[in-house]
Amino acid sequence: MSGLPGFLIDDRLHFPSCPSQGGQRFLVEMAAPLTLLLVLAVTIRAALFRSSLAELIAERVEVVSPITAWKRVVEGLALLDLGVSPYSGDVFHELADVITAVALYMAVKDYNKQVFRKQKFALEADRYPLDCLELIRSPKEMYYIPLKVAMFYLLNPFTILSCVAKSTCGLNNAVVALFIFSTIKGNTLLSAIFLCLATYQSIYPLTLCAPAMLYLMQRQYIPVNFRRASFWWFIAQYLFMYLGSLFVLICLSFFLLGSWDYMPSVYGFILSVPDLTPNIGLFWYFFAEMFEHFRLFFLCVFQINVFFYTIPLSVKLKEHPVFLIFMQLAVISIFKSYPTVGDIALYMAFLPVWSHLYRFLRNTFLVSCVLLACSTLFPVLWHLWIYAGSANSNFYYAITLLFNVAQILLVSDYFYAFLRREHHLTYGLYLKRKDGSEATLVLK
């Protein structure tokens, strides 16, 4: 009985509901540490911007890819008007990071409130078996999670490097974070608009449509059932808003630029992978060594691979759309055509939200060691290949493979832990076999 939360009264669990005053006090109490965190994050970035490392970092292929490199944005601007001095814009990138952090902070705070409420209703309905009370989450443990999320994002070396390199990834992350925030807040229109903006920049956030729709339907108490008219009606509404804003954006770009050239050059670039500059992803070396005959086939396979997990994951995780968002973001970051460390930082920022799954994770040591080792080996082997000439491309490629395997392991580990916790919440934590001895769970 020890280790249970201290408000067990009459064999039933009581949680104090959060009145609005308490909520405001909560907000004020949390604002101070958050502001401190923001100031610290901006200071680190500003210091790095002014140092000589900024140029070095801006050239690293792990941090910038052909679609996010600021150098190419400047080049584009310079081509538009030869003679205009390029815009340096440090503040612009720091602001993007701050927006992402604040949006994630507020989104996670709101999500925590939702989790509490659901848990309270489930407890009152006696849906949890009694021996899994350890798995119930308490306000105390969840108090610091939003701050931790903001901290994980802002102080992540990957994010800092991305910001200092002036990669446009920070901007992409900001838009996705705003989309998550507006979805969790329940604002359908804003969610559709931000998702449309995110899709407009790179096509892959299209897969986030499904979790957004599932979450909003859950929030509006629309049952997820194919036979119900309200389900289809909501989907139609959301898709109309989404496609409508996408259409408006595309027409706007057409009128601003005067031609359709940007569509094949942006989306064609992302989908057909013409640029084989090395990065931390799987595409570049694969297509550098591909036989011409099979190039189109494998291109389609790899691109479909990113979109392919949406429907199965949505079916499995339809009750848990926020975890689905996390899974989708991870899948996009690993399998997209030009990944950078900034994309990884976005889904890693979510890890504190699932900190209660820690006891079911199986590979933490392995994954963290591999990720750390690969992050340090990337610049070393790049230098050996490109500058020292004593290694060749295979060395860098090997580390890329290892890094991606570690990420896949991390994501599947969290998925396993999540499903296991759900299983225990339904069937009880301490399971016994038929003969009464301690049972082990396996996936069959």
Binding site: W284, F298, L313, L419, K444
Partner: protein
Amino acid sequence: HYAAAQKQAEPAVLQPTPQPKDDFQEELVVRPLHSGDIYASFQFRTLWETDFMRGNKVSHYRLFPKSLGQVISKFSVRELHISFTQGYWRTMQWGQPYLPSPPGAELWVWFQDSVTDVDATWKELTNVLSGIFCASLNFIDSTNTVQPSASFKPLGIGNVTDHRFLRYATLPREIVCTENLTPWKKLLPCGSKAGLAVLLKSEKLFHSSFHSQAVHIRPVCQDWQCKTTSWELRQTLNVVFDLHNSGQGKREWSLFKMFSRTLTEACPLASSSKIYIDITDNPEQFELSPATSLLSQAMVLGDRRTFSVYDLTQQDTFGSVRSLNLLIRWKSTEGDMLRPLLHAERYVAGYGLQTGEIHTLMYNHHPYRSFPVLLLDSVPWYLRLYIHTLTVTSKGKDNKPSYIHYQPSKDRVRPHLLEMLVQLPPNSVTEVTVQFERALLKWTEYTPDPNHGFYVGSSVISSLVPSTVAMDTNSTRERPLFSSFFPCKEESSYFVRVYTEPLLVNLPTPDFSMPYNVICLTCTVVAVGYGSLYNLLTRSFQIEEPSPGLAKRIANVIRKMRGVPPL
């Protein structure tokens, strides 16, 4: 300029015939260079008064080669300039060449404005020329063809200046050898059997520091009122023999030493056949034998030069032995070379295989005049230029070009084209730098020897250079004052084209032995992702029952068959 020189020396002889008139002239200019090397420049000119364009079917070719005539009429070519060069012209040691050419092959063509699809015509033309000259010009495609807007204006008459009809391509990797010389010689009316072409033997010509052969076709005016036009075909061959390689270290050259042949007769079809020896540097410095009394003066490349002339159409040139072997002997090695006013260099800076910087240096050696130059740079698409890093500095200060035409590249479709008009201050060095990034190519796009590097074609610097003799008051002292105020048109400036070195740039390479391995490994990683997610999506948690031992399992199978409950 040489046409002007010839007309000064002797009136051109045109033999009127009832057929469309054609005329053939040949000449050889020998210029001893200050470093002890010797520069020989052959020019063969065929003038033909005919009109390929207006639908007359030309079927009778006399002096003009049939293959080129058919090319001009089929592809509606207005001007064609093709050159094959081996070696790099060292401007600072040798001065300016009469006809500049970049290392490798260079082809530029102006099409008539009746052509509707210039790109398709260009493609066919390059393939046909590749066959005519036995060269691999079929490597010319859209990835190394550009349309310069200002640097290559038509050299013949014509009023089409829309640069949509101009195509320029260069193949710096092209090697010139006997296979290219033979079809080139076949285009001459006398072949290599009579006249000056007898000297063109490949074993000596290719054993030289510089060898360049070119074909230039353009329309020219027939008379000064330009009522009729004729086609001019010029075949030029420039060769520089090295003092130590071919000259055995002795400053003594003869036709036999240079070409291992002597001359016995002029080409019977030629209206004029002459040899010019440049004796300007110091007439007492050289000893020419057999001596000649014919002298000629001409303005060449901004400088007044004096030439000794040997006329091969005159029988007495050959003397009693009926063969002409010119001997040029140096008597002293003193004397200054006239420093070329415009000179350029180019190199790649930086280290590593990720980025680099192209530096182009342009030298203006004129003591007091600045002049503008047009710089044309064509960089392949796999060196991604960052044009916002372009800097032009002269004498340490920023020098903004007054005209920049930049066409960005498209991956695998077209190269970068950069054209700039830069004003070079007097007595200075102007440096143009631009940063680039090296791309990783698909493994099939590398040449068979990928670590040799990739060639970037020479930059072309075109300019009207003011002549140093224009302000020399010595030459104007005898002239009346009313004509000597403004610099005389013919002496004030001359056209110069300078080619820089081609660059050799290394690109990062993938491992060429590993395509199958890479495909397997990457697909394995994707499969690992797919596998783990598939497991978690399709399987559910169940309590594990320990599996019984082997004996028990077999027993259970037998019991099942018997219909008895298992153990």
